[in-house]
Protein backbone atom coordinates (compact mmCIF):
# COMPACT_ATOMS: atom_id res chain seq x y z
CA UNK A 1 0.00 0.00 0.00
CA UNK A 2 1.38 3.43 -0.99
CA UNK A 3 0.58 6.12 1.54
CA UNK A 4 1.10 9.84 1.02
CA UNK A 5 1.82 11.37 4.43
CA UNK A 6 1.31 15.12 4.44
CA UNK A 7 4.36 16.67 6.10
CA UNK A 8 3.83 20.33 6.96
CA UNK A 9 6.19 20.18 9.94
CA UNK A 10 3.89 18.59 12.54
CA UNK A 11 5.61 16.98 15.50
CA UNK A 12 4.12 13.53 15.05
CA UNK A 13 5.01 12.97 11.39
CA UNK A 14 8.01 10.70 12.13
CA UNK A 15 6.08 8.51 14.57
CA UNK A 16 3.11 8.18 12.18
CA UNK A 17 5.54 7.28 9.40
CA UNK A 18 7.24 4.70 11.63
CA UNK A 19 3.90 3.15 12.65
CA UNK A 20 2.73 2.87 9.01
CA UNK A 21 6.03 1.33 7.89
CA UNK A 22 5.83 -1.27 10.67
CA UNK A 23 2.57 -2.37 9.01
CA UNK A 24 4.27 -2.78 5.67
CA UNK A 25 3.08 0.45 3.99
CA UNK A 26 5.27 2.35 1.51
CA UNK A 27 5.21 5.86 2.92
CA UNK A 28 6.05 9.03 1.03
CA UNK A 29 6.19 12.15 3.21
CA UNK A 30 5.58 15.31 1.19
CA UNK A 31 4.40 18.91 1.21
CA UNK A 32 4.25 19.12 -2.61
CA UNK A 33 0.81 20.06 -3.95
CA UNK A 34 1.03 17.91 -7.12
CA UNK A 35 1.81 14.78 -5.13
CA UNK A 36 -1.14 15.38 -2.84
CA UNK A 37 -3.46 16.00 -5.81
CA UNK A 38 -2.41 12.69 -7.32
CA UNK A 39 -2.49 10.63 -4.10
CA UNK A 40 -4.78 7.62 -3.72
CA UNK A 41 -4.23 7.25 0.03
CA UNK A 42 -3.63 10.34 2.17
CA UNK A 43 -2.78 10.71 5.85
CA UNK A 44 -2.95 14.11 7.57
CA UNK A 45 -1.27 13.95 10.99
CA UNK A 46 -1.21 16.78 13.49
CA UNK A 47 -0.56 17.72 17.06
CA UNK A 48 -0.36 21.09 18.78
CA UNK A 49 -2.23 24.23 17.70
CA UNK A 50 -4.92 24.12 15.04
CA UNK A 51 -3.83 27.48 13.59
CA UNK A 52 -0.35 26.06 12.90
CA UNK A 53 -1.83 23.24 10.81
CA UNK A 54 -4.21 25.45 8.78
CA UNK A 55 -1.55 28.13 8.27
CA UNK A 56 1.02 25.53 7.16
CA UNK A 57 -1.43 23.94 4.68
CA UNK A 58 -2.15 27.37 3.19
CA UNK A 59 1.53 28.41 3.17
CA UNK A 60 2.31 25.36 1.03
CA UNK A 61 -0.87 25.79 -1.08
CA UNK A 62 -2.08 22.33 -0.03
CA UNK A 63 -5.67 23.19 0.87
CA UNK A 64 -7.23 22.83 -2.59
CA UNK A 65 -5.17 19.80 -3.71
CA UNK A 66 -6.21 18.02 -0.50
CA UNK A 67 -9.90 18.89 -0.96
CA UNK A 68 -9.69 17.81 -4.61
CA UNK A 69 -8.02 14.48 -3.78
CA UNK A 70 -10.72 13.67 -1.20
CA UNK A 71 -13.40 14.77 -3.71
CA UNK A 72 -11.96 12.34 -6.25
CA UNK A 73 -12.33 9.52 -3.72
CA UNK A 74 -8.80 9.17 -2.31
CA UNK A 75 -8.77 7.27 1.00
CA UNK A 76 -8.16 9.87 3.71
CA UNK A 77 -7.14 9.47 7.36
CA UNK A 78 -6.93 12.48 9.69
CA UNK A 79 -5.17 12.14 13.03
CA UNK A 80 -5.87 14.48 16.00
CA UNK A 81 -5.67 17.98 14.44
CA UNK A 82 -6.07 16.18 11.12
CA UNK A 83 -9.60 15.32 12.32
CA UNK A 84 -10.35 18.81 13.62
CA UNK A 85 -9.19 20.46 10.36
CA UNK A 86 -11.95 18.65 8.43
CA UNK A 87 -14.63 20.91 9.92
CA UNK A 88 -15.67 24.41 8.85
CA UNK A 89 -13.98 26.13 11.80
CA UNK A 90 -12.42 25.72 15.24
CA UNK A 91 -12.76 27.77 18.40
CA UNK A 92 -8.98 27.43 18.73
CA UNK A 93 -8.40 29.52 15.59
CA UNK A 94 -11.69 31.36 15.04
CA UNK A 95 -10.48 33.51 12.15
CA UNK A 96 -9.08 30.66 10.04
CA UNK A 97 -11.44 28.58 7.89
CA UNK A 98 -11.07 24.82 8.23
CA UNK A 99 -11.13 22.48 5.23
CA UNK A 100 -14.95 22.44 5.39
CA UNK A 101 -15.22 18.81 4.28
CA UNK A 102 -17.60 18.27 7.22
CA UNK A 103 -20.17 20.73 8.59
CA UNK A 104 -19.78 22.14 12.09
CA UNK A 105 -17.34 23.73 14.48
CA UNK A 106 -14.66 22.25 16.73
CA UNK A 107 -15.04 23.53 20.31
CA UNK A 108 -13.04 23.55 23.54
CA UNK A 109 -13.62 20.80 26.10
CA UNK A 110 -15.22 22.02 29.38
CA UNK A 111 -13.12 23.88 31.96
CA UNK A 112 -14.27 21.70 34.87
CA UNK A 113 -11.96 18.84 33.86
CA UNK A 114 -8.19 18.83 33.53
CA UNK A 115 -6.98 20.03 30.15
CA UNK A 116 -5.32 18.98 27.95
CA UNK A 117 -7.29 15.71 27.87
CA UNK A 118 -4.07 13.74 28.08
CA UNK A 119 -3.77 10.01 28.45
CA UNK A 120 -5.58 6.77 27.68
CA UNK A 121 -9.35 6.68 27.26
CA UNK A 122 -11.97 4.30 25.88
CA UNK A 123 -14.63 4.57 23.15
CA UNK A 124 -18.41 4.27 23.28
CA UNK A 125 -21.51 4.59 21.06
CA UNK A 126 -19.57 2.65 18.48
CA UNK A 127 -21.22 2.02 15.13
CA UNK A 128 -19.85 -0.34 12.50
CA UNK A 129 -16.80 1.21 10.88
CA UNK A 130 -13.87 -0.29 9.02
CA UNK A 131 -11.43 1.53 11.33
CA UNK A 132 -12.59 -0.38 14.40
CA UNK A 133 -12.81 -3.88 12.86
CA UNK A 134 -11.70 -6.45 15.50
CA UNK A 135 -10.81 -3.74 18.03
CA UNK A 136 -11.91 -5.00 21.48
CA UNK A 137 -14.71 -2.85 22.94
CA UNK A 138 -12.76 -1.88 26.08
CA UNK A 139 -9.59 -0.89 24.22
CA UNK A 140 -7.78 2.26 25.33
CA UNK A 141 -6.36 4.90 23.00
CA UNK A 142 -3.95 7.76 23.70
CA UNK A 143 -5.40 11.28 23.50
CA UNK A 144 -3.62 14.66 23.83
CA UNK A 145 -5.92 17.60 23.00
CA UNK A 146 -8.07 20.39 24.47
CA UNK A 147 -10.46 20.94 21.53
CA UNK A 148 -12.75 18.40 19.88
CA UNK A 149 -15.67 17.93 17.49
CA UNK A 150 -19.07 17.82 19.27
CA UNK A 151 -20.60 14.34 19.05
CA UNK A 152 -23.60 15.40 16.94
CA UNK A 153 -22.79 14.76 13.28
CA UNK A 154 -23.79 11.64 11.35
CA UNK A 155 -20.06 11.14 10.58
CA UNK A 156 -19.49 10.03 14.21
CA UNK A 157 -18.46 6.37 14.38
CA UNK A 158 -17.41 6.37 18.05
CA UNK A 159 -17.27 8.95 20.83
CA UNK A 160 -15.14 9.37 23.90
CA UNK A 161 -15.83 11.47 26.99
CA UNK A 162 -13.84 14.02 28.95
CA UNK A 163 -16.06 16.67 30.48
CA UNK A 164 -18.43 16.06 27.56
CA UNK A 165 -18.78 13.60 24.72
CA UNK A 166 -16.82 14.29 21.56
CA UNK A 167 -16.10 12.51 18.30
CA UNK A 168 -13.21 10.07 18.70
CA UNK A 169 -13.63 8.21 15.40
CA UNK A 170 -15.41 9.42 12.29
CA UNK A 171 -16.20 7.93 8.93
CA UNK A 172 -18.01 9.47 5.98
CA UNK A 173 -17.45 7.57 2.75
CA UNK A 174 -13.71 7.86 1.98
CA UNK A 175 -13.08 10.34 4.83
CA UNK A 176 -11.93 8.75 8.08
CA UNK A 177 -10.35 10.36 11.12
CA UNK A 178 -9.47 9.73 14.76
CA UNK A 179 -9.05 12.23 17.61
CA UNK A 180 -6.59 9.94 19.42
CA UNK A 181 -3.06 9.10 18.28
CA UNK A 182 -3.10 5.59 16.79
CA UNK A 183 0.69 5.85 16.31
CA UNK A 184 1.04 6.16 20.11
CA UNK A 185 -1.76 3.79 21.16
CA UNK A 186 0.09 0.49 21.37
CA UNK A 187 -1.41 -2.61 19.75
CA UNK A 188 -4.94 -1.15 19.57
CA UNK A 189 -3.64 1.87 17.66
CA UNK A 190 -1.69 -0.32 15.24
CA UNK A 191 -4.89 -2.27 14.55
CA UNK A 192 -6.74 0.96 13.65
CA UNK A 193 -3.96 1.93 11.21
CA UNK A 194 -3.97 -1.57 9.70
CA UNK A 195 -7.75 -1.33 9.25
CA UNK A 196 -7.32 2.00 7.47
CA UNK A 197 -4.71 0.54 5.10
CA UNK A 198 -7.04 -2.37 4.33
CA UNK A 199 -10.02 -0.08 3.71
CA UNK A 200 -7.86 2.05 1.42
CA UNK A 201 -6.52 -0.87 -0.61
Amino acid sequence: MNVTLIDYGAGNVPSVERALRRLGAQVETTNVAEKISAARCLVLPGVGHCAALIAALDAHCLRQPLIDAVGRGAAFLGICLGLQALYESSEEAPTLPGLGLLPGRVTRLPEDVKLPHMGWNTLKNIRATRLLDSVPSGAYFYFAHSFAAPAVGEESAAVSEHGREFIAVLEKENIRAVQFHPEKSGAAGALVLRNFLRAAA
Partner: protein, 254 residues
Protein backbone atom coordinates in the same frame (compact mmCIF):
# COMPACT_ATOMS: atom_id res chain seq x y z
CA UNK B 1 -15.04 4.32 31.96
CA UNK B 2 -13.00 7.47 31.81
CA UNK B 3 -9.46 8.69 31.54
CA UNK B 4 -7.10 6.04 32.95
CA UNK B 5 -4.37 6.81 35.50
CA UNK B 6 -0.98 6.39 33.91
CA UNK B 7 2.10 4.42 35.00
CA UNK B 8 5.30 5.92 33.61
CA UNK B 9 8.77 4.36 33.88
CA UNK B 10 11.64 6.84 33.79
CA UNK B 11 15.05 6.27 32.27
CA UNK B 12 17.79 8.53 33.65
CA UNK B 13 20.55 8.38 31.07
CA UNK B 14 24.21 9.29 31.14
CA UNK B 15 25.74 8.93 27.71
CA UNK B 16 24.39 5.74 26.16
CA UNK B 17 23.46 4.04 29.45
CA UNK B 18 20.62 4.16 31.96
CA UNK B 19 21.85 5.05 35.45
CA UNK B 20 20.24 5.34 38.87
CA UNK B 21 21.03 7.13 42.08
CA UNK B 22 19.75 7.90 45.55
CA UNK B 23 18.84 11.49 46.39
CA UNK B 24 20.06 12.59 42.97
CA UNK B 25 23.54 11.27 43.80
CA UNK B 26 25.66 8.08 43.80
CA UNK B 27 25.00 6.82 40.27
CA UNK B 28 25.27 3.25 39.05
CA UNK B 29 24.55 1.50 35.74
CA UNK B 30 21.01 0.17 35.25
CA UNK B 31 20.98 -1.04 31.66
CA UNK B 32 20.56 -0.26 27.98
CA UNK B 33 17.87 2.37 27.20
CA UNK B 34 16.50 0.74 24.05
CA UNK B 35 16.21 -2.67 25.71
CA UNK B 36 14.42 -1.20 28.73
CA UNK B 37 12.12 0.86 26.46
CA UNK B 38 11.08 -2.24 24.50
CA UNK B 39 10.44 -4.16 27.72
CA UNK B 40 8.29 -1.40 29.24
CA UNK B 41 6.26 -0.94 26.06
CA UNK B 42 5.51 -4.70 26.03
CA UNK B 43 4.69 -4.75 29.77
CA UNK B 44 2.01 -2.08 29.42
CA UNK B 45 3.73 1.17 30.39
CA UNK B 46 1.50 4.12 29.41
CA UNK B 47 4.37 6.45 28.50
CA UNK B 48 8.10 6.63 28.89
CA UNK B 49 10.26 9.48 30.19
CA UNK B 50 13.95 9.77 29.28
CA UNK B 51 15.98 12.29 31.29
CA UNK B 52 19.53 13.13 30.32
CA UNK B 53 21.22 13.68 33.65
CA UNK B 54 24.57 14.21 31.92
CA UNK B 55 23.17 17.20 30.03
CA UNK B 56 25.55 19.62 31.65
CA UNK B 57 28.52 17.54 30.52
CA UNK B 58 28.07 18.19 26.82
CA UNK B 59 26.73 14.78 25.84
CA UNK B 60 24.02 16.15 23.56
CA UNK B 61 24.73 14.09 20.40
CA UNK B 62 24.70 10.86 22.42
CA UNK B 63 21.40 11.86 24.05
CA UNK B 64 19.72 12.51 20.67
CA UNK B 65 20.97 9.12 19.50
CA UNK B 66 19.45 7.55 22.63
CA UNK B 67 16.10 9.26 21.96
CA UNK B 68 16.11 8.01 18.38
CA UNK B 69 16.85 4.45 19.51
CA UNK B 70 14.19 4.56 22.24
CA UNK B 71 11.52 6.12 19.96
CA UNK B 72 12.14 3.34 17.45
CA UNK B 73 11.06 0.80 20.12
CA UNK B 74 7.90 2.56 21.27
CA UNK B 75 4.23 2.56 20.33
CA UNK B 76 3.47 4.78 23.35
CA UNK B 77 4.29 8.47 24.01
CA UNK B 78 7.85 9.52 24.81
CA UNK B 79 8.85 12.51 26.94
CA UNK B 80 12.46 13.66 26.85
CA UNK B 81 14.40 16.26 28.78
CA UNK B 82 17.47 17.21 30.75
CA UNK B 83 19.38 20.35 29.91
CA UNK B 84 16.96 21.73 27.30
CA UNK B 85 17.49 25.50 27.45
CA UNK B 86 16.33 26.74 24.06
CA UNK B 87 13.71 26.27 21.37
CA UNK B 88 16.48 24.99 19.09
CA UNK B 89 17.51 22.27 21.57
CA UNK B 90 13.84 21.30 21.99
CA UNK B 91 13.38 21.04 18.21
CA UNK B 92 16.31 18.61 18.01
CA UNK B 93 14.77 16.43 20.73
CA UNK B 94 11.34 16.44 19.01
CA UNK B 95 12.91 15.67 15.63
CA UNK B 96 14.72 12.75 17.26
CA UNK B 97 11.32 11.28 18.20
CA UNK B 98 10.10 12.79 21.50
CA UNK B 99 6.38 13.64 21.75
CA UNK B 100 6.83 15.92 24.75
CA UNK B 101 9.68 18.00 26.12
CA UNK B 102 10.34 18.42 29.80
CA UNK B 103 12.15 21.44 31.25
CA UNK B 104 13.17 22.19 34.83
CA UNK B 105 16.09 24.48 35.76
CA UNK B 106 15.99 26.35 32.44
CA UNK B 107 12.32 27.29 33.00
CA UNK B 108 13.07 28.63 36.48
CA UNK B 109 15.89 30.73 35.12
CA UNK B 110 13.95 31.93 32.06
CA UNK B 111 10.19 31.28 32.43
CA UNK B 112 9.43 32.57 28.90
CA UNK B 113 10.97 29.34 27.62
CA UNK B 114 7.66 27.66 28.54
CA UNK B 115 5.70 30.09 26.33
CA UNK B 116 8.12 29.64 23.45
CA UNK B 117 7.87 25.85 23.63
CA UNK B 118 4.08 25.97 23.98
CA UNK B 119 3.69 28.27 20.97
CA UNK B 120 5.80 25.98 18.82
CA UNK B 121 4.73 22.50 19.92
CA UNK B 122 1.40 23.09 21.73
CA UNK B 123 0.78 22.92 25.50
CA UNK B 124 0.24 19.14 25.34
CA UNK B 125 3.94 18.76 24.46
CA UNK B 126 5.33 20.92 27.28
CA UNK B 127 5.98 19.25 30.63
CA UNK B 128 7.19 21.46 33.47
CA UNK B 129 9.33 19.38 35.83
CA UNK B 130 9.36 20.69 39.40
CA UNK B 131 11.67 19.34 42.10
CA UNK B 132 10.04 20.28 45.41
CA UNK B 133 11.41 20.09 48.96
CA UNK B 134 9.48 20.56 52.19
CA UNK B 135 10.30 23.91 53.75
CA UNK B 136 8.27 25.22 56.66
CA UNK B 137 4.57 24.72 55.91
CA UNK B 138 5.02 24.45 52.12
CA UNK B 139 7.35 23.24 49.41
CA UNK B 140 10.30 25.03 47.93
CA UNK B 141 11.39 24.63 44.29
CA UNK B 142 14.90 23.20 43.89
CA UNK B 143 16.97 23.30 40.71
CA UNK B 144 20.11 21.64 39.29
CA UNK B 145 19.00 18.11 40.06
CA UNK B 146 17.62 19.10 43.47
CA UNK B 147 20.90 20.52 44.73
CA UNK B 148 20.19 24.23 44.60
CA UNK B 149 17.49 26.07 46.54
CA UNK B 150 15.36 28.82 44.98
CA UNK B 151 12.98 31.40 46.44
CA UNK B 152 10.04 29.90 44.54
CA UNK B 153 7.08 28.23 46.20
CA UNK B 154 6.23 24.99 44.33
CA UNK B 155 2.48 25.59 44.26
CA UNK B 156 2.84 29.13 42.93
CA UNK B 157 5.48 28.08 40.39
CA UNK B 158 3.23 25.28 39.10
CA UNK B 159 0.37 27.74 38.59
CA UNK B 160 2.65 30.26 36.90
CA UNK B 161 4.07 27.53 34.65
CA UNK B 162 0.60 26.53 33.50
CA UNK B 163 -0.27 30.17 32.74
CA UNK B 164 2.90 30.39 30.66
CA UNK B 165 2.02 27.33 28.61
CA UNK B 166 2.94 24.08 30.38
CA UNK B 167 0.41 21.32 29.63
CA UNK B 168 1.53 18.94 32.36
CA UNK B 169 3.53 19.00 35.62
CA UNK B 170 6.11 16.36 36.48
CA UNK B 171 6.38 16.75 40.23
CA UNK B 172 9.27 15.15 42.12
CA UNK B 173 9.56 15.13 45.89
CA UNK B 174 13.24 15.74 46.63
CA UNK B 175 12.65 14.44 50.18
CA UNK B 176 11.26 11.10 48.96
CA UNK B 177 13.26 10.55 45.78
CA UNK B 178 15.31 7.36 45.99
CA UNK B 179 14.05 6.50 49.50
CA UNK B 180 11.35 3.99 48.40
CA UNK B 181 9.27 5.20 51.37
CA UNK B 182 6.22 6.21 49.29
CA UNK B 183 5.17 9.29 47.31
CA UNK B 184 4.65 12.59 49.12
CA UNK B 185 0.87 12.49 48.69
CA UNK B 186 0.37 15.81 50.50
CA UNK B 187 2.64 17.54 48.02
CA UNK B 188 1.00 15.84 45.04
CA UNK B 189 -2.53 16.70 46.20
CA UNK B 190 -1.56 20.31 46.92
CA UNK B 191 -0.21 20.82 43.41
CA UNK B 192 -2.78 18.68 41.58
CA UNK B 193 -5.65 20.59 43.16
CA UNK B 194 -4.01 23.93 42.38
CA UNK B 195 -3.57 23.51 38.62
CA UNK B 196 -5.86 22.75 35.67
CA UNK B 197 -3.41 20.38 33.93
CA UNK B 198 -2.45 16.75 34.67
CA UNK B 199 0.16 16.09 37.37
CA UNK B 200 2.67 13.22 37.28
CA UNK B 201 3.84 12.24 40.77
CA UNK B 202 7.44 11.14 41.22
CA UNK B 203 9.81 10.20 44.01
CA UNK B 204 9.59 7.47 46.63
CA UNK B 205 7.66 4.65 44.93
CA UNK B 206 8.28 1.06 45.98
CA UNK B 207 5.17 -1.07 46.55
CA UNK B 208 1.78 -1.06 44.75
CA UNK B 209 0.11 0.52 47.81
CA UNK B 210 2.24 3.63 47.26
CA UNK B 211 0.72 4.04 43.78
CA UNK B 212 -2.82 3.47 45.05
CA UNK B 213 -2.21 6.13 47.70
CA UNK B 214 -0.91 8.74 45.25
CA UNK B 215 -3.83 8.17 42.84
CA UNK B 216 -6.44 8.45 45.61
CA UNK B 217 -5.21 10.73 48.42
CA UNK B 218 -2.58 12.34 46.19
CA UNK B 219 -5.01 13.14 43.32
CA UNK B 220 -2.23 12.33 40.83
CA UNK B 221 -3.10 11.78 37.16
CA UNK B 222 0.00 9.68 36.56
CA UNK B 223 2.82 8.17 38.61
CA UNK B 224 6.45 7.80 37.65
CA UNK B 225 9.13 5.47 38.97
CA UNK B 226 12.52 4.23 37.85
CA UNK B 227 14.57 1.73 39.83
CA UNK B 228 11.73 -0.52 41.01
CA UNK B 229 10.93 -1.17 37.35
CA UNK B 230 14.56 -1.39 36.17
CA UNK B 231 15.44 -3.91 38.88
CA UNK B 232 12.24 -5.89 38.24
CA UNK B 233 11.26 -5.42 41.88
CA UNK B 234 7.84 -4.46 40.52
CA UNK B 235 6.25 -5.58 37.24
CA UNK B 236 4.11 -2.95 35.52
CA UNK B 237 1.45 -5.47 34.63
CA UNK B 238 1.10 -6.77 38.21
CA UNK B 239 1.01 -3.19 39.49
CA UNK B 240 -1.80 -2.30 37.10
CA UNK B 241 -3.76 -5.44 37.97
CA UNK B 242 -3.50 -4.49 41.65
CA UNK B 243 -4.68 -0.94 40.92
CA UNK B 244 -7.64 -2.16 38.87
CA UNK B 245 -8.66 -4.56 41.65
CA UNK B 246 -8.44 -1.61 44.05
CA UNK B 247 -10.87 0.44 41.95
CA UNK B 248 -8.41 2.68 40.09
CA UNK B 249 -9.01 2.86 36.35
CA UNK B 250 -5.90 1.78 34.47
CA UNK B 251 -5.23 0.55 30.95
CA UNK B 252 -4.44 -3.14 30.77
CA UNK B 253 -3.11 -3.90 27.31
CA UNK B 254 -4.92 -6.64 25.43
Amino acid sequence: MSLARRIIPCLDTDGARVVKGVHFEGLRDAGDPTELAARYDAEGADELVVLDIAAARDNRPTFLETIRGVAEQLAIPLTAGGGIRSLEAARAVVRAGADKITVNTAAVERPELLSELSAEFGAQAVVLAIDAKREGGGWQVRIRGGRQATSLNAREWAQRGVELGAGEILLTSVDRDGTQSGFDTELTAAISNAVSVPVIASGGAKVPAHFLEVFTRGAADAALAASIFHDQVQSIRALKEFLRRSGVEVRLPC
